[in-house]
């Protein structure tokens, strides 16, 4: 793969102008995600209302893949039910680790499939997965998650 496949316009745009940036004053759920190997670090806040993601925001620092993945995640899960959001977490993780063939299997990822290319870049998979891993933690009200050690989402997925 080359950078045109991974660093597509939509990813570069979300990196430059992240959507839903900031913290929710009235958050019902929060989590912090950390990728200690490269310094990606995000804070996620959610407002759940009757099992639905009414609002979501993130802020932090990280590479383009992590920031764009975070930004596009927020736009995609806003308004979804918790069950729908969790299904997207699973599908995104499976796509990034190469277990979900997005070309042939039905999924709910839509434009998020622009991240499919990371499956060929093992060192970057965690950058893309971090926000989704953090979302999963926020939905279950764990406060801090890491991409390393016991919580390694890539290891857990394999």
């Amino acid at each position: 793969m080359d950078s045109k496949q991974l660093y597509q316009e939509v990813i570069l745009d979300h990196n430059k102008k992240p959507r839903n940036w900031g913290k929710l004053a009235d958050a019902s759920h929060k989590a912090e995600g950390l990728n200690p190997l490269c310094g990606d670090h995000i804070w996620l806040s959610l407002k759940l209302d009757d099992k639905r993601v009414e609002n979501i925001a993130f802020e932090g620092e990280g590479c383009a893949i992590c920031k764009a993945s975070s930004s596009m995640m927020t736009t995609n899960v806003k308004g979804k039910t918790v069950a729908e959001a969790e299904q997207m977490v699973r599908e995104f993780r499976d796509m990034a680790t190469g277990k979900l063939d997005i070309g042939n299997l039905p999924n709910h990822l839509g434009r998020l499939t622009v991240f499919a290319g990371v499956r060929d870049l093992p060192s970057r998979v965690k950058c893309a997965i971090l926000p989704w891993h953090t979302l999963q933690a926020a939905l279950h009200s764990e406060s801090v998650v890491s991409t390393e050690g016991d919580q390694d989402p890539v290891a857990a997925a394999s």
Binding site: D2, S3, L6, Y7, L12, N15, L37, C38, G39, H41, E61, G62, C63, A64, I65, L121, S123, R124, C127
Partner: protein, 420 residues
């Protein structure tokens, strides 16, 4: 001198490195990455191996291998002679006074841990102080922190300025009646700063304090004379100096090594064993328990031969030219910050691009076949000092060319274009 050499002398400046001929020694430089010729600029992490060393490993494994220091049969005698012969080469290479001051380890990290376990745990106690620098690799911080935690000792840190140079007046002021040990790097892996370790050793010795120098980034690139430095311990790795992984060296002054406790127990490190009492072997064997990586040690000896045949002074001069050329080229680029601008610097360019995370830089450069390291370089305190999470780092060695610097610079321009 052969006629080929005479011709080369005629067309090249006297004593300069013939990089074309050097490159022919390294088979891996023919590899293509993403359809592009490999431009290997990650030498501070690990260097490549010339065919002279590869061939030596194959010859050992095909015709000389047996366990060492054990049997009277021919192969064991041969393997022992080659293993100890490599130690002699390494002694001469770093100018240690005696062969028994040269201990084989698994690498620099293992060497530092050996000193922490064998010297630190035996001679440091509650309230004692250990001085390290802001520029240390984690491997020269964490073992000392572990010791501090165990003993109730305290870590003191030599600060650095914005260029990445250690502040020597602050260093001198850190010494007090409780200072027991100094552990400093010769060359910073993250920034390339060459520290004035000879002066720093002299300062410590005026206070009667022994010094360990982490030479992992120095020995491959410059002539190191441990007696001239007068350091008490000096640690380095084989795989950063054209040798194999899994082998490294700890040099230590004999009188210190002799009073240290063994790090690991087992075979080869003993003279006699009964269930009542074990008598330890003499140095260096006291610290070499179990069957060592014999092939790797012999390979390291071959790497020393190779570097000496090229000449450390010529390697250093070539790398200095590459650094000057690269630094000039980086300076022409807009939105690039070189992190680490010491006056005395090894051929390392650590940099950040405005608005682009180093990992994105690394991924895109990889498509051009360019291998750089991105991240914190196992030196998070350095990153914290400069207020950044990570850098991209190009680190050069004897086989790198000016044309490769051009490929790197073109790659950085492409990154900037993509991130516009």
């Amino acid at each position: 001198m052969t006629s080929a050499n005479t011709v080369l002398q005629a067309i090249k400046p006297a004593g300069a490195l013939d990089v074309g001929r050097i490159r022919a020694d390294f088979p891996i430089l023919n590899v293509e990455v993403n359809g592009k010729p490999l431009v290997y600029l990650d030498n501070a992490a690990s260097s490549q191996m010339p065919k002279q060393v590869i061939d030596r490993l194959v010859r050992y494994q095909t015709s000389e291998h047996a366990n060492i220091h054990r049997a009277v049969h021919a192969l064991s005698e041969k393997a022992t002679a080659e293993y100890e012969g490599a130690r002699r080469k390494i002694r001469r290479f770093i100018n240690a006074k005696e062969e028994r001051e040269v201990i084989y380890t698994r690498g620099t990290t293992d060497s530092v841990n050996l000193v922490m376990q064998g010297y630190g745990r035996a001679f440091l106690g509650a309230g004692d102080e250990i001085i390290v620098s802001q520029l240390e690799h984690h491997s020269n911080i964490v073992p000392w922190q572990m010791l501090c935690e165990e003993k109730g000792a305290r870590l003191r840190v030599i600060p650095c300025n914005d260029a990445g140079e250690l502040l020597l007046d602050d260093y001198a002021r850190l010494f007090n009646a409780n200072t027991r040990f100094v552990a400093i790097t010769h060359v910073s892996n993250a920034l390339g700063t060459i520290n004035p370790v000879k002066d720093m050793v002299a300062t410590a010795h005026r206070h009667g304090v022994p010094v360990l120098v982490d030479g992992a980034q120095a020995v491959p690139h410059m002539k190191v004379d441990v007696q001239d430095l007068d350091c008490d311990f000096y640690a380095f790795s084989g795989h950063k100096m054209c040798g194999p992984t899994g082998i490294g060296i700890l040099y230590g002054k004999a009188q210190l090594l002799e009073k240290m406790k063994p790090f690991e127990g087992g075979g080869d490190m003993i003279l006699s064993v009964t269930f009542e009492k074990t008598t330890y072997n003499a140095i260096p064997h006291k610290f070499e328990a179990g069957t060592p990586p014999i092939a790797a040690a012999i390979g390291l000896g071959a790497a020393v031969d190779y570097l000496e045949s090229v000449g450390l002074d010529r390697i250093a001069a070539h790398e200095h030219d590459l650094l000057t050329y690269a630094t000039e080229a980086f300076t022409q680029l807009k939105g690039v910050r070189i992190v680490g601008t010491a006056g005395n610097k090894a051929a390392v360019v650590s940099f950040t691009l405005q608005g682009v995370h180093p990992h994105d830089v690394g991924t895109i450069l990889n498509e051009d076949g360019v291998a750089v390291r991105t991240g914190h370089h196992c030196a998070q305190p350095v990153m914290q000092r400069f207020g950044i999470p990570a850098t991209a780092r190009a680190s050069f060695y004897l086989y790198n060319t000016f044309a490769e610097v051009d490929v790197l610079i073109a790659g950085i321009r492409r990154v900037q274009k993509i991130f516009g």
